[in-house]
């Protein structure tokens, strides 16, 4: 019986990586300590607030409730990878344009969830947005602006993909 670290291989933000991980470490601890990725952060620690959202094999999960060893073989995407360094993707742009945050602590989680939402529902209505983001908490209560930002991102994405501006 061993509580020692073991080696896992996975794809992190498009790059194949190898890392040592202890069985009791969760994804947030792992990404912060081994890869200096701080976008996913632990807030409630119970999967309720969404601040720790990362995409594992394309699906959003709560990094605080996900054992890091389970990332072995997976494709992992964090908020740091949405756009090239120095640039923003259209969801991030829409959040700024709509003023969809105040303190910004919950924003990476909302943006990762919004990205997954737009893959599943490219043209979401208000109810779909509210249902999908119900597990994300914004203590500054920027909820109306967040819904607007998601809708704006959906519009821009649609316009981009059809070649219209």
């Amino acid at each position: 019986m061993s509580t020692a670290a073991r080696t896992i291989n996975f794809t992190l933000n498009g790059r194949p990586v190898t890392a040592d991980v202890k069985p009791h470490h969760n994804v947030v601890e792992f990404l912060q300590s081994q890869f200096a990725l701080f976008g996913a952060r632990e807030s409630c620690g119970q999967g309720l607030c969404g601040c720790c959202t990362v995409l594992v094999d394309g699906k959003p999960v709560s990094g605080c409730l996900y054992l890091a060893v389970f990332l072995d073989g997976a494709e992992v995407v964090t908020v740091e990878n949405l756009a090239e360094p120095g640039k923003l993707d259209l969801i991030q742009d829409a959040f700024i344009e709509c003023g969809a945050f105040q303190c910004g602590y919950c924003t990476p989680g909302f943006i990762m969830m919004s990205r997954a939402l737009l893959v599943q529902h490219p043209d979401p209505d208000d109810q779909q947005i509210r249902d999908y983001l119900t597990g994300n908490l914004c203590r500054c209560a920027a909820y109306p602006e967040i819904v607007n930002a998601v809708k704006m991102a959906a519009r821009k994405s649609k316009a981009g993909s059809t070649g219209r501006s």
Partner: protein, 291 residues
């Protein structure tokens, strides 16, 4: 969390052999969302976890038998059940229940087998599965056995499973003309743990109820059938007078517990209201997942 060992067997047999039935500090972990909460809270500090992840693919299929029964692999994530056309066609009440069960991230990771084995009385699926007459296949060192979900859940976080038995499949019988509804009643946010859950499945002959199952959860130590309430409903047409009798019977027989989501007397009043609403919703085949 305190350090622990984690092993990832590649077969069901190996997984069962790795679980020492006499050691409470060794447990299986599927999606792990509920277990992580317990470990983070320090309620559970395992020495070793036996991960079922590597055998998950063999036990995460959704299929329909020739008899029309729905069979769901125990390692199926809740989101796969939520988005399955087969589930929607076979048991729309399950698909509707999913929309308010925790949140998207948890549903992507939590499994149906894990939800049943964990036996947290606040979970939404167990009362629905009991109302639908669902059963599970269980595998242990001495082979396979079947059991109704109603018998599986024996108490507060307690099941009839031996420590080295694992659920492999959930069977939901062909529903035919059965109508069902589930009401999740929360006193916090819509997707919070419920203060009360009420599931109803019934068959009608004309305007009268031929058979019925009424199950109460969250406010009780386990998802529990309300036999007196069922008896008060069977053979009757569901007018206001009948529904009042049914609701009173449920309130009379349910052993309601107080917790942070409400006092026992408050939850009894919730049950009085929602037992009647759930019966009516089932009859009208609406089937609210949430109120």
């Amino acid at each position: 969390m305190t350090p622990f060992d984690l092993v990832e067997p590649a077969s069901l047999e190996e997984a069962i052999a790795l679980i020492d039935p006499d050691d409470p500090d060794v447990r299986a972990i599927a999606g792990g969302t509920a277990l992580m909460l317990m470990m983070k809270a320090g309620v559970f500090s395992p020495k070793r976890l036996v991960s079922l992840r590597r055998i998950g693919d063999s036990f995460s299929k959704i299929s329909t038998t020739t008899a029309g029964d729905l069979v769901v692999g125990a390692m199926t994530p809740l989101s796969a059940i939520e988005n399955s056309p087969e589930v929607l066609r076979h048991a729309p009440v399950i698909a509707r229940t999913m929309t308010r069960l925790s949140n998207v991230r948890v549903r992507n990771v939590a499994t149906v087998g894990g939800a049943l084995a964990h036996a947290d009385p606040h979970m939404d699926l167990p009362p629905v599965l009991i109302a639908l007459g669902a059963s599970v296949t269980i595998v242990g060192p001495s082979g396979e056995r079947g059991m109704a979900v109603e018998q599986l859940l024996t108490g507060y976080y307690e099941t009839a499973l031996a420590k080295n038995e694992l659920i492999t499949r959930v069977h939901i019988p062909a529903l035919g003309a059965t109508r069902a509804a589930y009401f999740k009643v929360t006193t916090g946010s819509a997707d919070d743990w419920p203060a009360l859950g009420v599931a109803v499945a019934l068959d009608m002959v004309g305007s009268s109820v031929k058979s019925a199952r009424i199950v109460v959860s969250a406010a009780t130590t386990k998802a529990t059938r309300m036999f007196a309430a069922e008896k008060a409903l069977i053979g009757k047409s569901a007018n206001d007078a009948t529904l009042k009798t049914v609701a009173d019977a449920a309130v009379g027989e349910a052993e309601i517990l107080a917790d942070v989501r409400g006092s026992a007397s408050y939850k009894r009043e919730l049950l009085r209201v929602y037992a009647a609403r759930a019966v009516r919703a089932a009859i009208e085949a609406r089937g609210g997942a949430h109120q």
